[in-house]
């Protein structure tokens, strides 16, 4: 059909041309074939009128079939149905992992806290140690005193 006479004579050719035009209107023609056809349309007003009618038909189909049925509750209904389904093994594992992660967090926080307290301990212990040493020294001084 590429570059041939735009006005076929017999019904078979007419049918082929109709299919070609429909392919074009549907956007199914490869770019090179679409360009060749558009060149023919530019030169043949009768063919261009047929092509326009097919393009208008596409718009009608798009308008009639493209609009979804208006049901504002649809998404909510689908989500509710999903929520009603029993939990999946992967979901149970996910929950379990979340608990483990939370427990690990608490444990790490507790360890960090204990470590901080531990770091504060040496001065106290040192003080106690010093006091004990002073006590011992005092006692030994007392013993040495006649």
């Amino acid at each position: 059909m590429k570059g041939s006479d735009p006005t076929p004579a017999d019904p078979g050719d007419e049918l082929l041309l109709d299919e070609l035009l429909l392919d074009w209107a549907l956007g199914l023609l490869p770019a090179a074939e679409a360009e060749a056809l558009e060149a023919r349309l530019a030169a043949d007003p009768a063919l261009a009128a047929r092509a326009d009618a097919l393009r208008a038909e596409q718009a009608v189909l798009g308008e009639a079939l493209g609009a979804g049925e208006a049901d504002p509750a649809l998404e909510a209904r689908l989500v509710a149905g999903l929520r009603a389904a029993p939990p999946l093994p992967v979901e149970r594992a996910f929950r379990w992992r979340r608990w483990v992660a939370a427990a690990a967090g608490v444990l790490i926080a507790a360890l960090a806290g204990a470590r901080m307290l531990d770091r504060r301990e040496p001065p106290r212990q040192q003080l106690i140690g010093h006091l004990r040493l002073s006590e011992l020294k005092a006692m030994s001084d007392d013993e040495e005193t006649p």
């Binding site: 038909e57 189909l61 493209g66 998404e75 689908l78 149905g81 992992r97």
Partner: protein, 172 residues
């Protein structure tokens, strides 16, 4: 302003068990899933059940989803298969009947036939309905329709032509 999380990232979270992430995907694409079921099955009530079943299948099968593919297409393929299974169960998924001769003399569909088109489409063979829906409601290209419906691009072309010719025959 918060950036919208990509479908594919939500899918990965959902695959890890995050039901909230999957619910967000349902909010984004549930309407398309339902509409495909509705058009293929021809019955809104059955579409509710089959769309729900398809979404549950998707939720259960998320471990098989590969992020390189578009999530919407993946969900729609699951919905399409679920619809075909439902049609097979009631023995309504039949092969396309032999094509009659195309009549190029029939005029293209016009604007005043828009109202009657929906009902006329519902009386077509389910395969033709699915192809029309993929083309006009989902706005898919020929190769995308072929991928969604497990057809060859040549079959998609034949189905689109036949569907349009049948509609012209019924309405004009």
């Amino acid at each position: 302003m918060t950036a919208r999380i990509r479908d594919e990232d939500l899918a990965l979270r959902a695959a890890d068990g995050d039901r909230g992430a999957f619910e967000e995907l349902v909010r984004r694409h549930g309407r398309d899933v339902w509409a495909l079921c509705r058009r293929t099955l021809g019955d809104p009530q059955e579409a509710d059940d089959v769309a729900q079943e398809a979404l549950l299948k998707a939720w259960r099968g998320l471990s098989g989803y590969r992020p390189e593919g578009r999530l919407r297409s993946w969900l729609l393929r699951i919905a399409q298969r679920a619809s075909i299974d439902a049609l097979r169960a009631r023995k309504a998924w039949t092969p396309l009947p032999e094509a009659g001769p195309l009549d190029p003399a029939r005029p293209p569909l016009a604007l005043d036939e828009r109202e009657a088109l929906g009902a006329a489409v519902d009386r077509l063979n389910p395969r033709l309905r699915a192809v029309l829906h993929a083309r006009y409601a989902l706005g898919l290209s020929g190769p995308e329709i072929a991928e969604l419906l497990d057809m060859t691009p040549a079959n998609v072309r034949v189905c689109l032509h036949r569907a349009i010719h049948e509609l012209r025959g019924r309405l004009t």
